[in-house]
Amino acid sequence: GNASNRCVYEQPVSFSVSYSEIYLIKCSLFIIHVSVQVQQILRERFCERRLPDRLEGVEAQYKHLLELLRRTAIHGESNSVLIVGPRGAGKTTLLQCVLRDLQKEEKVQKNLLQVHLNGLLQTDDRIALKEITRQLHLENVVGDKVFGSFAENLAFLLEALKKGNRSSSCPVLFVLDEFDLFAHHKNQTLLYNLFDVSQSAQAPIAVVGVTCRLDVLELLEKRVKSRFSHRQIHLLSSLNFTQYLERVWTQLSLPDSFPDKKFAQEWNAGVKTLCEDKSVEEVLQRHFNSSKDFRSLHMLLMLCLSRVSVAKPTIKPADLLEASRMCFADTTANMLHGLSILELCLVIAMKHLNDVYEGEPFNLQMVHNEFKKFLHRKSNSMYNFEQPVVMKAFEHLQQLELIRPVDGSSAKVQREYQLMRLTLDHSQIMEALQKYPQCPTDIKQWAMSAFG
């Protein structure tokens, strides 16, 4: 297949083509088609656009949540629950899967209204109430004014919920994403009222909060806390490295339903050999040590996938290594590569000042003196610069936020004497120097010397 691909891409197709060439073009078009499909399936998976058919490792939590919401939908039992887990642990995925499976049930289908709120979007109760009214399609009942005042809205919504009862009104599911942010709203009015409804004989509602904060209950006011049912579903994955590897394998492999069986088999075999590779295992181990969450894994696999092309329809260990290198790249150290020699010298001078004064803040004058000492002592390749030039370089470093003014010292002080701190670690400076293109040797030596 490789040869024919190259054919398509490297040579312009002539108008007088032979029969064999037409065959080759057909083949290559087919391969392009397959390749597009592979990209689509895997990208949807990695970008979390498509829910997994079955959740792994969280069966108990899945069952708990499903049962709870089903009871709300079918029995009209009001409930409240919090899903707590670190970022990327699959909280939203869990909830979405439960809702998807719940909607498949006939009894539930038309019996559950959903309201989705996000603490980052609905930043106060006023906005949240409007959003609830809108999502429940109650706004056309309000009358001529689409939305009244905040107070009217609240009274209106509470009235609506109060009118209902357990057996006759349609259950409402409230999903509060970034739940902890709702706890910062004034008086926690929204939370109090939602939980209060869930604990009184009004319209049946289920309140599902999604948050990554483990201390979320401490944020709730005591009355709100008392009304919350204290159900918490924790998503803390205790998966080990073997399971992690398996997960990588399942994430990369193509489903049985893939149209081209032969290609799928080849691809899956390729993935299997990839996972068994020693260097790949090492890289994945490192990732696993760093974080267990699936979002960062997906990020890594996405980088690998983007290196797959029609010309190279497999993932090689080298791709994974390269992707891993990109993932772990130190962004600040990379920024140092773009500095001028003068700026780099200033950074080194700051490092020495930090060493001498144990992290005390410095100002431009001190840095310049340190730099001049270096020039005076052993510089061969560098010349002294004018004060304004050094100042400009210093300001550029500040703009890049490599240095940061000490709080409260700004404004009144002359710029040369403004106290600054270096926001770089020594290891970052040394690493940057190693990779800096054509770095003068004496500067390297200066940086490495124990004192200025």
């Binding site: 708990h64 079918i74 029995h75 670190p86 970022r87 038309k110 019996n111 209204l113 006023r126 429940l136 309000v142 009358g143 001529d144 107070a151 609240l154 009274a155 209106f156 919504l157 609506a160 009118k163 057996s167 009104s169 349609c170 259950p171 409402v172 008086n187 009015t189 109090y192 009222n193 209060d196 009184s200 004989a201 319209a203 990554c212 483990l214 201390d215 005591k222 009355r223 806390k225 008392s226 009304r227 049912s229 204290h230 159900r231 918490q232 924790h234 994955s237 205790s238 760093s290 974080s291 267990k292 772990f328 130190d330 600040t332 150290a333 940061r404 926001t423 770089l424 670690d425 970052q428």
Partner: protein, 710 residues
């Protein structure tokens, strides 16, 4: 005299019930001596006249409009008796039979009607304990009330002044009303025929012009030669329109346009044999004097209101918010565990509240006594969340409502507001007004209307029981909301009972300024957290002999909750969760089908155990190392705070010890941020980079414990 006697005699029984004790004494005097001593005098009609306008004559048996809170919809009533009181009978009162408008009906009772009410429909009001005595001054004008059979359609009439009666309303049910009860016996006397002889009436006093609805007092004597103001143009408006326009003008009046408005009441006797006396001036009103000499009185009625009640802004149509109806019926509980779960849900209303008998009794007798005595009062109820404060008050109200239905106590109006269910403390006024009258108003306007309502002798008043939940949220800088809530019950005519609920026992001392705390009074009650025995009893009573729990399991739950908070909600929630766990483990052959100790233990663990330990155990290797690095750095510094840079040095060292490849700064920051997002660490804003300071949000022991167990 004879006529009058009969008149009195017939109504004596009714009068005895209604009039003040002092009056009664006078009647007794009258009965016994038949001498003319100072006593109330009955009239068969009054006349009210406005300068330059046709006058209005009010007869007994006539239907009238009476000044109310809402200018567009004044109260409707039928005059049953008119009489004068006080010295020289200058203070004129009337007894009326009330009609009630659709807008005055409690909103939630409207559905009892079973049909859309006609806008001009009114109901014959049969209520025993309502105040049916009015100041004649508050009468606006006559109105036509027509009785319709309950099946007749409402006539299409554009006449706004004709109202229709079909049913009667006794605050509980609608009944068909007899036409003889409703229809006026006599048409209003033609106002256009002034009597030929007149006598100068007494001029009015400006002191009367403060508020017509102020209670009767001895200071009603009218000094002579004081002019009241009038409209500056004598239009051909009807007197009542003139009057209401007058009232509107009163706010914007200027001293330059003072003219006279003279209103005189005319007392007419039942026999209607008037003797015109004399007529002095065109502008003055008329007074009829009866031929019975002893009843010659010069009476004036002032009809000036200074209090303006602007038309309340009403929403064009009442939105009826509701959640859509479910398409499929709810399933009934299928087995014992499901049944138990339904009963244990906090929302299910128990038949009785166990363990709060004493508190129930206290609140009940407090409210009952206030209702029976027609007085007002405040009560402050405190207790930690979940101790049944609101539930007990609701229970009390339910019982009282039942008693009122049984006619054991006078009926009352229950209103509930909740500080947490409003966006601003001043919304309390709006909500109270809305629930009281159905009116909508801005907070300031609502406060004015309520103030007026509670301070005036308003007709047709039931005792209002107001429950203010989460009182502490009604706190404002000036505390005027709280002040008003506690001030109103003390007013003489308010008939308001305020029950307030909050969490802290010392709220009055802590947040209230003296004048508010003083008005709240000392009637306080505190709900203690439930003891374990009480919690057990609560669950038992809810389960009501349903065998779903093992004895020990219940005891464990109640002991655990009693030790932690004494919150009944928590207790019920744990039990509910335990039934779920039991259901899931039902497949286990050893299970008895009852909720046992193990299930309860699991539920307790789920709800009360901290997730920090599990979270640390489930964290990635680098995250665990970072936590260790934080502790190491804290130990080295001897402080509970360090910058990321400092911790990172330790972290690199630990990596080497553990044989791991040291991580970069970016990766280290990411690890740190992840721990911060879970709140295992407390961090400064992330833009500070390596300079951000770190603190632990868990104890060092917890971290060691979690990491050692590995």
């Amino acid at each position: 005299m004879e006529v009058l006697y009969h008149f009195f005699h017939r109504n004596l029984e009714e009068l005895l019930k209604c009039i003040f004790r002092s009056l009664l004494v006078m009647f007794w005097c009258f009965e016994m001596t038949r001498f003319e001593i100072l006593m109330p005098v009955c009239f068969s009609s009054f006349a009210i006249s406005v300068e330059g306008l046709s006058k209005i004559i009010i007869n007994t048996g006539q239907d009238i409009f009476i000044e109310g809170c809402d200018e567009d919809n004044p109260y409707v009533a039928k005059v049953t008796r008119l009489y004068g009181d006080g010295e020289s009978y200058s203070h004129k009162l009337g007894f009326v039979q009330w009609f009630i408008r659709v807008s005055e009906l409690p909103v939630n009772k409207l559905k009892l009607l079973g049909r859309e009410p006609h806008p001009q429909e009114i109901f014959y009001y049969e209520c025993r304990n309502c105040d049916n005595e009015v100041n004649v001054e508050s009468i606006l004008r006559p109105v036509k009330v027509k009785h319709l059979d309950s099946n007749d359609p409402f006539p299409d009439s554009a006449d706004k002044d004709t109202l229709y009666v079909k049913l009667s309303w006794d605050s509980k049910v609608f009944r068909v009303v007899n036409s003889t009860v409703v229809e006026s016996p006599a048409e209003p006397a033609p106002a256009s025929s002034p009597p030929s002889c007149l006598k100068p009436s007494l001029p009015m006093s400006p002191s009367c012009s403060q508020s017509a609805a102020t209670p009767r007092g001895p200071s009603r004597r009218t000094p002579a030669n004081v002019e009241a103001e009038s409209l500056h143009s004598a239009t051909k408006l009807s007197a009542s329109k003139c009057l209401s326009a007058k009232r509107r003008n009163a706010t914007a009046r200027t001293p330059g346009v003072r003219k006279r408005l003279e209103l005189s009441s005319e007392c007419l006797h039942k026999d209607f044999k008037m003797q015109p006396l004399c007529r002095t001036r065109e502008q003055q009103g008329y007074i009829y004097i009866s031929n019975t000499k002893s009843y010659h009185h010069f009476l004036t009625v002032s009809l000036i209101f200074l209090q303006i009640s602007p038309g309340t802004p009403q929403t064009p149509r009442h939105a009826t918010p509701s959640i859509p109806i479910r398409s499929l019926q709810t399933q009934q509980p299928a087995n014992i565990l499901e049944e138990a779960r339904a009963r244990l849900h906090v929302s299910s209303v128990p038949e009785s509240l166990p363990c709060r008998e004493q508190e129930f009794q206290d609140i009940y007798s407090f409210v009952e006594s206030k209702i029976v005595d027609n007085t007002g009062g405040c009560m402050y109820i405190s207790g930690v969340p979940g101790t049944g404060k609101t539930a007990t008050v609701h229970e009390v109200i339910r019982c009282l409502q039942h008693a009122a239905d049984m006619d054991e106590i006078p009926s009352f109006h229950f209103i509930e507001i909740n500080g947490m269910k409003m966006t601003d403390p001043h919304q309390a006024y709006v909500q109270i007004l809305q629930k009281l009258t159905g009116q909508k108003a801005t907070p300031d306007h609502a406060a004015v209307l309520l103030e007026k309502r509670f301070s005036n002798l308003a007709p047709r008043k039931e005792t209002i029981v107001l429950l203010v939940d989460e009182l502490d949220l009604l706190w404002t800088r000036k505390q005027n909301v709280m002040y008003n809530l506690f001030e109103w019950p003390a007013r003489r005519h308010a008939r308001l009972v305020v029950l307030t609920i909050a969490n802290t026992m010392d709220l009055p001392e802590r947040i209230m300024i003296n004048r508010v705390a003083s008005r709240l009074g000392l009637t306080r009650m505190s709900f203690q957290p439930y003891s374990f025995k009480q919690l057990q009893e609560i669950i038992m009573s809810r389960l009501n002999k349903l065998k779903a729990f093992e004895e020990d399991a219940l005891q464990l739950v109640s002991r655990k909750v009693a030790a932690l908070s004494g919150d009944a909600r928590r207790c019920l929630d744990i039990c509910r969760r335990a039934t779920e766990i039991c259901e899931h483990s039902a497949a286990d052959p050893s299970s008895t089908g009852l909720v046992g100790m193990s299930h309860v233990m699991e539920a307790l663990n789920e709800m009360f155990s901290s997730a920090y330990i599990t979270a640390i155990r489930c964290a990635s290797t680098q995250e665990q190392l970072f936590l260790r690095a934080v502790i190491t750095e804290f130990r080295r510094l001897g402080l509970e705070e360090a910058t990321f840079q400092q911790v990172f040095v330790q972290h690199q060292a630990l990596c080497r010890i553990e044989g791991l490849k040291p991580i970069g700064v970016s990766e280290g920051l990411a690890v740190c941020q992840r721990l911060g997002a879970c709140r295992l660490l407390l961090l400064e804003p992330s833009h500070l980079g390596v300079l951000q300071r770190i603190r632990l949000n868990v104890s060092q022991d917890d971290i060691f414990y979690a990491l050692k167990a590995d």
